[in-house]
Amino acid sequence: MLRPFALYRPSTVAEASEVLAREGRETSLYAGGTEVLLILKEGLLRVTSLVDVKRLPGLGEIRSENGHVLIGATATHRALESATVVQARCPMVAGVARHVANIRVRNVGTVGGNLAFADPHSDLATLFLAFDCVVRLEARGRRRELPLAEFVRGPYETAREEDELLTFVRLTPWPAGTTGAYVKFGLYERPTLSVAVALMSGGEGGAITGARVAVGCVGPRPQRAPEVEQRLRGWSPSDVVRHADEVARLAARDIEPVSDLHGSAEYKKDMTRVFVKRTLLVAAARVAGRRQDEHERYPHTIIV
């Protein structure tokens, strides 16, 4: 049961921003509602109004722009999964969107809502880091763009100013010859750990020219592993296989997990090692032309 609130349905970003500025903490942004309506029900948030952003023009779009993929904040996970431009330019995103939460949340929940809520256990935030994601924040008369890593500050904390809306998310598709893998692990509703790996190479079996490695859900916010990415450069897929565990330890070293229902910090650290390793192995096998994950099945694990 929800306590009464007014509902604003602005048709421009300026209008929306005005309400946010005027109402301050008495209001909240609302798109799919899968997060905000839940915390309202639970009494963790109290507002006297909601600002519905679903009527803002263009915010539901998913399109290509200057070589990037632009995702409107009110695009649902479902739309992301089926968008042709996503399937063409960054298919891993479609694959991961397919496994967020459950079918109902995917139907209704939005990309912008997910990122702006900054749940530490967000699949999308982890993956988007591997796509050099930039978020666009707009308010009355101003607009700025922030790398996702700067936007997400901590659990449920973002850099969004009170009167700003997250309007778009821009991903940089990986160059041709990139092989990706995404693995998430967990028993509970939200993942305990997720790893996104992208290996850029010249072609099948070729040496790795660049890498993206992102680890999320296990710490207060998702993060890239620059040392690991550096280490992978110049390696062949079999180098990756040989050194996967060692490299994974490097990634785990930089993670600061917190003990919670998902597990102790110690366990999470070790699982970071395990799953960075496994994701690297999957990616390396794919680079070499083999789909390792067809033969590997790990419990409570989704491999995209």
């Binding site: 049961m1 929800l2 306590r3 009464p4 609130f5 007014a6 509902l7 604003y8 349905r9 602005p10 048709s11 209008e15 309400v19 509602g33 899968t34 309506l37 839940l38 029900k41 639970e42 006297t48 109004s49 909601l50 009527r55 479902r78 939460a101 459950n102 079918i103 109902r104 949340v105 139907n107 209704v108 509703e189």
Partner: protein
């Protein structure tokens, strides 16, 4: 700017189980309560109340939503299907028939959600594998059946020919 003041209602029109409906609802009214209390359709049920269990599942434009965490006014201009619209005693939907036949119903509290979710799945993928059905039902919990007979019932409605149901 379009706005509904606090404690005011707005008028919504939607299609419910094939029939047009018009209602005045307040912004905070949850779809589940609108269906159950205003429209007397009790098939969708409140269990976990947090989008995890699926007992409140209804279809909006063919897609499953958690009615417990969905504003009623969002169905304005859309098509809503509840279990009452899936089939009747005189004309059961094949899924309803299959659930009965396979013994996939025990306490019945999860049943409406399971049926509608299965319908959405088969509309999209007429011939899913067992693993795919189990995966699709990630958000539909059952505490009585142990799922086995529910999975059997749904698979029995999968059509090799790709025919939509």
């Amino acid at each position: 700017m379009n706005a509904i003041p606090i404690r005011s209602s707005c008028n919504i029109r939607f299609t419910l189980n094939g029939r047009p409906v018009e209602l005045d609802v307040r912004p905070e009214a949850l779809l589940l309560d609108v269906l159950r209390d205003r429209l007397q359709l009790k098939g969708a049920r409140r269990s976990c109340d947090m989008q995890v269990c699926g007992a409140c599942t209804v279809l909006v434009d063919g897609g499953p939503v958690s009615a417990c965490t969905y504003l009623g006014l969002e169905v304005d201009g859309h098509e809503v299907l509840t279990v009452e619209g899936l089939g009747t005693e005189e004309r059961l939907h094949p899924l309803q028939e299959a659930f009965i036949e396979h013994g996939a119903v025990q306490c019945g509290f999860c049943t409406a959600g399971m049926l509608l979710t299965a319908k959405a799945l088969l509309a999209e993928e007429p011939s899913p594998t067992l693993g795919r059905v189990a995966e699709y039902l990630r958000g539909n919990l059952c505490r009585c059946t142990g799922y086995r007979k529910i999975l059997d019932a749904i698979l029995s409605c999968a059509t090799p020919g790709g025919e939509q149901r």
